[in-house]
């Protein structure tokens, strides 16, 4: 029951910690640099975070030597999270943005209506 405890000894843990600290330094440093666009910075930050997470999962959480079932559970939770992110993203990215003709102009004209009940919204308030 404790084979993993022997296979990854203290030295591996120290190396992992050092790697994690270095990566933290890199990600903080990278946040001061402009990589061209906001999304580029975010992607770099997320990639570094993912590397850090993999290190923690593989070495601190022993997934490298553990029963593969546990790794399957861990990875499938991430896959389902991916599904959860992907579909709303598809939806939001591909929604029609309807701006009817002249609507914005009309909205400005109608702006003072906010003070009084608007005729467009009559009755039953």
């Amino acid at each position: 029951m404790s084979e993993h405890a022997h296979s990854s000894g203290a030295r591996v843990y120290v190396l992992t910690l050092v790697a994690l600290l270095i990566l933290t330094g890199i990600t903080v440093g990278a946040s001061y640099i402009n990589f061209g666009s906001a999304s580029a910075n975010i992607i770099i930050a997320i990639v570094i975070a993912t590397v850090k997470v993999s290190l923690v999962a593989l070495f601190f959480m022993h997934l490298r030597h553990d029963n593969p079932l546990n790794a399957i559970i861990f990875i499938s939770s991430l896959i389902f999270l991916g599904i959860f992110l992907a579909f709303p993203l598809i939806d939001i990215q591909s929604r029609d943005k309807i701006i009817p003709n002249g609507l914005r102009v009309r909205e400005q004209v109608a702006a003072p209506k906010q003070a009084a009940p608007a005729p467009a919204a009559p009755a039953h308030h």
Binding site: F84, F87, I90, Q93
Partner: protein, 550 residues
């Protein structure tokens, strides 16, 4: 019918070891028991009580709809009544019904285990369920909630009433469901009896396993959705409120990411029971065992990518709608496979028409209607017309009630002798089944027609042209109620008898029947060692528990 001959191999266990679980320990000790059977029975009573409550709300709703205009209550009261009916039935009855009550009781027995993997977690899960039920009750008596069980924003964030409390109740109940799921996955993986490979597991276990996977992966999202909703009400964060820049459609994505798989949390255990009852009552080997087992898991996984079919008219993008529509159709295939496998299993069997089988056959017909009408709703152009009408109401009642609840009744009648050691009156069971079947169809068949003719759902009042169909539906609901009253009558009556149930009244081959009725506290005297597949009715019975014979 032979009784169990369960002479203990070793007398060292002492008397306590041989007492049936029902009579082991004081009544008070039940409250802190970690025995999966007792917890199953406690869940059963709680769920039946909640079913009664939800049923009363259902009858009130139907009574109000007897005539157009105000019949017995005001619009506000009606809105609260249907919300409570939905919330109670979904969160407190159907989702826990089969896994928590029958699953808790039967799953470890079927695996040949002494208990679930984490008995104390099981107890915790039960008390979380009770806590959730109490919070929901508090929300009901402190004003009630009128959001509908779906809690759609921004209505739910702006309406009065203890919405946050009701939401919190659902949040708490979610944890009960998660813990049950964790427990069952671990149990199935780690506590199978020696010799029980994955494809020697009873199909009930497969179904509950697939359900547990969904419970583990989907319910946390419900938890966070409801938490965000509570934040929204308390702090006005605005994620789902367009006035603050949020997106109400996003709430629907969050909600249905859980709630569509939740439909399968409801139906998969029902299918699981039918997969158990049909081969047993037909004394036939299960046709297409592997296909059925895999289709459970396939349904569980595909169920995560179809939620958008609840949102074809919601303002979701057309591309997303098309993807969801296509995937929705795919989920129909494993269901079709299951139906044909069940039917073929009966072919050339030796079929008993005892109560569990009556309900199983009823399930086949009602699930047939529920599943086939789902095809209409998956078709985009037709769904645009049918969405949010009574057609949808009828469809999901055929699936949730006509299928899951009927399967629950099949399972209840199937395991009742094992749970309580008593046989119920078979004739009374037939009469009740008749009323349930007639009443159910009278209630919900007219609603398909109402829906296709354009009657929207959640209407307190309606146009006069819909009156006759609504009246048929209301009368049907009373017949259905009558069926349940008869059922309560003969089930309670059976509990007053002395224990008369044989250990294996249905001549089943699974391990749960190879112990006494009711089982002893530790389920089996010896660890069962599997000798036979669960449905090997084509060869003589070879018990897997030593000392057991029919």
């Amino acid at each position: 019918m032979a009784d169990i001959v369960a002479t203990p191999k070793s007398q060292s266990h002492g008397d306590h070891y041989d007492v049936d679980y029902l009579n082991d320990g004081s009544l008070l000790s039940w409250l802190t028991t970690v025995d999966h059977k007792k917890l199953g029975v406690m869940y059963l009573w709680s769920i039946l009580f909640m079913f009664f409550l939800g049923g009363v709300f259902a009858l009130l709703v139907r009574l109000e709809l007897m005539n157009p205009g105000q019949t017995i209550m005001t619009a506000e009261q009606y809105n609260k009544a249907f919300t409570l009916h939905g919330a109670i039935m979904v969160f407190l009855v159907i989702i826990p019904s089969i896994p928590a009550a029958l699953g808790n009781f039967a799953l470890p027995l079927m695996l040949g285990a002494k208990d679930v993997a984490f008995p104390r977690l099981n107890l915790l899960s039960f008390w979380i369920y009770v806590t959730g039920a109490i919070i929901a009750t508090v929300a009901m008596v402190t004003g009630g909630v009128d959001t509908g069980w779906t809690f759609y924003t921004p209505y739910s964030t702006t309406t009065d009433g203890p919405v946050a409390l009701m939401t919190f109740a659902a949040f708490v109940l979610g944890f009960s469901s998660i813990l049950t799921g964790v427990n069952f996955v671990a149990t199935v993986h780690k506590l199978r009896a020696p010799g029980m490979g994955w494809f020697k597991m009873p199909l009930f276990v497969w179904g509950i396993y697939a359900t547990a996977i969904i419970q583990v992966l989907a319910t946390p999202v419900l938890a966070i959705t409801l938490l965000l909703l509570i934040f929204e009400r308390l702090f006005g964060v605005g994620v789902f409120d367009p006035k603050l820049g949020g997106d109400p459609v996003l709430f629907q994505h969050f909600f249905w990411f859980y709630s569509h798989p939740a439909v399968y949390i409801m139906i998969l255990p029902g299918m699981a029971i039918i997969s158990e009852v049909i081969p047993t009552m037909s004394q036939k080997v299960f046709f297409g065992y592997k296909a059925t087992a895999f289709s459970s898991v396939a349904i569980a996984i595909v169920s995560f990518v179809v939620w958008g079919h609840h949102m074809f008219t919601s303002g979701q993008s057309q591309l997303a709608g098309a993807i969801f529509s296509f995937l929705t159709f795919l989920v129909g295939i494993p269901s079709a496979i299951k139906v044909f496998n069940w039917i073929t299993t009966m072919y050339k069997g030796s079929i008993s028409l005892a109560a569990p089988m009556l309900y199983a056959l009823m399930f086949l017909i009602l699930f047939g209607i529920g599943g086939l009408t789902g095809i209409f709703l998956g078709t985009m152009s037709v769904d645009i017309h049918l969405h949010d009408t009574y057609f949808v109401v009828a469809h999901f009642h055929y699936v949730m009630m006509g299928s899951t609840l009927i399967a629950f009744l099949a399972g209840l009648h199937f395991w009742w002798p094992k749970m309580f050691g008593r046989m119920y009156n078979e004739r009374a069971a037939q009469i009740a089944a008749f009323f349930v079947f007639i009443g159910f169809n009278a209630t919900f068949l007219p609603q398909f027609l109402l829906g296709s003719r354009g009657m929207p759902r959640r209407y307190y009042d309606y146009l006069p042209e819909f009156t006759p169909l609504h009246q048929v539906s209301t009368v049907g609901s009373w017949l259905l109620g009558l069926g349940f009253v008869i059922m309560a009558g003969y089930l309670f009556a059976s509990l007053r008898k002395k224990m008369d149930a044989p250990s294996n009244p249905w001549h089943a081959r699974t391990l749960d029947w190879q112990t006494s009725s009711p089982p002893i506290t530790h389920n089996f005297h010896e660890i069962p060692v599997l000798k036979q597949g669960p449905y090997d009715y084509f060869k003589p019975f070879e018990p897997s528990v030593e000392g057991y014979h029919e």
